[in-house]
Amino acid sequence: MTAAQPAARESGAGVALFARQVFTIAQKDLRSELRTKEALNASVAFSIVVLVLFSFIFDSSSEEFHDYTGGLLWLVFTFAGALVLNRSFARETLNDCLDGLLAAPIAPSALFAGKAAANFVLLLAVALISLPVFGLFYDVRWVPVFWPLMLVIGLGIWGLTVIGTVFSALTVNLRLRELMLPTLIYPLMIPALMAAMTLTTDLLKGTPIGADNLIWIRVLVGFDVIFTAVALTIVDTVLLG
């Protein structure tokens, strides 16, 4: 046996341990959210209200309406998303749960990744509920492009989740927490939102992802990769100091 083998085995065990920790945290968050449904209910209700409000702005039967569908949908996702993201770390302030989590023998990056995974699932759920409602209200045909749309929604929501989860941790102990989070994350989200809105509008208008709009997939992937890496590196500083 060479010296490299135990090291490799050790790093393999490290990855497995990290994955298990991430899974445990995500499972805990999802379970507690599904028992109370406080963020999810608020978020879904809010997104439906916003969808109804759109009907007073646009004439959905007009041709131009289809130029705005992506933008409208992503406004719903991001605004409703902020409600979920705000709760992510705020939930842990009761009974000093956050101190308990940080004292537990897990890496802060695992805590972050677990929470991000749970938030991703919740935001995706909100998106999957509001998408059919949007289609129903405004006669938008999303079923034929469901899978490409899911790719765009998945990538966009992962970007929102990563930025949102870091800033949720960052603002957890602040006064005006609920106000600070959206103020900080929306300007940062602009490149990803711009890409996601463009792609969603294209797909809903029947333009497939191709040479013309491939650049926006690249922007989304680049945004996600860069900020996931930055977040995982920097989250120790945010949580522990």
Binding site: P187, I215, V219
Partner: protein
């Protein structure tokens, strides 16, 4: 010593600004198509360089703070961002005034305008965050994180908005066509003004840093007094 440097720099900057104002208003002529309003460029350009450059430098100091945990880096970074925000605001305002006269609208969603505004919003968030945190080391740590995210995002914003706008019909309202390079003397004046504004920015940052230092000292004295 520091005071002397500050005053010398201030005197130099003041003299240079007076000289530049004289040149801009009395020596340089009107532009053929734009008339007198082109002169705003002589302030718009230096403010743009200083605003954007400041955000980048501040991000570097934020990284240095996280590496070294030296609160001085935090006050440098915060002071630079404050001053840069002022210059960025000058860019947006002077740009708007120019646009109102030349384009006929206060604002057009052109690539550069949009990305400058987004940068401004990101770093305005940074200052809001600083206001919301009392404890100095926590404030330094968290605002450094925001500044790093902001710095990286600013680069992505710039590139992606360029792609976004170039995919759409390009900006039709631009003064910089392929053929009209500025007369050299106009360009030189812009660079002289850049030097003057840079001195001004350095003075403002130095004054602001001193305030930060003093307020930190007062804060620690207050804590000490409360601990007895």
């Amino acid at each position: 010593m520091r005071n002397k440097i500050l005053f010398a720099l201030a005197a130099f900057a003041a003299a240079l600004i007076v000289r530049n104002l004289y040149v801009i208003f009395f020596v340089l002529g009107d532009e053929q198509n734009q008339g007198a309003i082109w002169r705003i460029f002589e302030f718009h350009f230096p403010a743009g360089i200083l605003g954007l450059g400041g955000f980048i430098v501040a991000t570097i100091f934020s990284i240095l703070y996280l590496v070294g945990n030296d609160l001085r880096f935090d006050s440098i970074s915060a002071s630079i961002i404050e001053v840069s925000l002022v210059f960025a605001a000058i860019v947006l305002v002077t740009g708007s005034i120019w646009a109102r006269i030349i384009w006929g609208v206060w604002w057009a969603w052109d690539a550069r305008l949009t990305s400058m505004l987004i940068c401004w919003l990101i770093f305005a968030g940074y200052l809001m965050l600083r206001r919301a945190i009392e404890e100095p080391t926590q404030r330094a740590r968290l605002s450094a994180v925001v500044s790093i995210f902001g710095g990286i995002d600013a680069i992505i914003v710039y590139k992606s908005i360029e792609w976004y706008r170039t995919q759409h019909p390009g900006p039709v309202l631009t003064i910089r066509g392929a053929n009209d390079a500025m007369p050299e003397v106009w360009q030189h004046t812009a660079y002289w003004n850049l030097l003057a504004m840079t001195c001004l920015a350095i003075i403002l940052v130095m004054v602001r840093m001193r305030q930060e230092g003093v307020s930190r000292e007062i804060d620690s004295m207050r804590r000490l007094a409360h601990s007895y």
